[in-house]
Amino acid sequence: MTGQLTALVVPLLLAGVALYAAARRVDVYDGLVCGARDGFDVLLRVVPALIVLLPAVYMLRASGALELLAGALAPALERLGVPPETAGLLLVRPVSGSAALGVGAELMEAYGPDSPVGRTAAVMLGSTETTFYTIAVYFSAAGVVRTRYAVPAALCADLAAFLAAAWAVQVVFYS
């Protein structure tokens, strides 16, 4: 059911956006090409970080450190319904977007993108931002030194996202 619905998302969006924009006399083709070029810029900015970070993540996996971490946090995470394999992702996500992407990609590679772990990792990545980076950018731009409760409130949202991601994957795919 959800599979058929989400299969509609991509074709409908592509055609729908193109028709809507064309009706408003937007140069659709030029917009697509310009956006794709921006996409390359984004990618070029991320690639060096990925090349540096993925070896570290792969080394952690090969050394058994990730299993150790998962094992150490497993009792707490399992009680919360979160797959312990995602422990590394939880720790890295608020700090670095590229590192989180690397850890998430490695999880999807190791467990399969359609496994419960792979799907939970994907939903966690999709429903969170790089919290500390965002906070630093906003408060330094606004010249704020006393950030009051912004950090704890933002971390509440992150924690909720992790728990909700594990729960939502269970509800949508496995019930």
């Binding site: 937007v26 956006g35 390359f40 070896p55 080394m59 050394s63 906070i135 408060f139 731009a141 949508v172």
Partner: protein, 192 residues
């Protein structure tokens, strides 16, 4: 510096663990493999990511972002009561939220920063309740179509990379709600 600590920590933990478990050859091979895997990942993500960035650019040019921000304005006025009368701030916030929803990160950040700077002018150096709310809302993801994650899934060989959409929407909604509730509750007990 945070990244230095993170990277050095990861590398040191891997080496220590490998020494303890005797898996040094595997770790050595993994470092080389990881660097190659990064390039592969980037290449296999590139097509989908660029296509979606193109679609988003067309959405922006068609005025969808402006339309969305007009729809959002009444709800946002309630979220930022202290700034409801400030037309410039509310316009920036609405544009920031609609750009975030559409996944236009490059457009969303300058709009959000403009709002943040205007808000901070009232209380220099201290984060007001409104500014805290703006920051918390920007640290939570509200992107309707998480294109980067979908491209990573596709790169890992997934045939239906967008089948996580309902789960992402569910998790994002709960996360933003938790952030807003936490901010509103903490605002009462945390003096400016």
């Amino acid at each position: 510096m945070a990244m230095t600590v993170l990277w050095a920590g990861m590398a040191a933990a891997a080496v220590l663990c490998a020494l303890a478990t005797g898996r040094m050859p595997e770790v050595s091979a993994a470092a080389v493999e990881g660097a190659g895997a990064a390039v592969e990942l980037a290449l296999s993500m590139a097509g989908m990511l660029c296509l979606w960035m193109g679609v988003m650019e067309v959405m922006r040019r068609a005025g969808l972002a402006e339309k969305l921000s007009r729809l959002l304005r009444p709800a946002l006025r309630r979220l930022y009561p202290a700034f409801a009368g400030d037309r410039a701030v509310m316009d920036s916030i609405a544009a920031n939220v609609s750009a975030n929803l559409l996944g236009l990160g490059n457009a969303a950040t300058p709009l959000g920063l403009r709002a943040a700077q205007a808000m901070a002018r009232r209380t220099p150096g201290v984060a007001s309740d409104g500014l805290c709310m703006l920051v918390v809302c920007n640290t939570a993801s509200i992107q309707l179509i998480p294109t980067t994650v979908a491209s990573v899934r596709a790169a890992a060989g997934c045939q239906t990379p967008f089948d996580i959409l309902p789960a992402v929407w569910l998790a994002s909604t709960l996360s933003v709600a938790a952030g807003i509730v936490a901010a509103k509750l903490l605002a009462r007990v945390w003096p400016a």
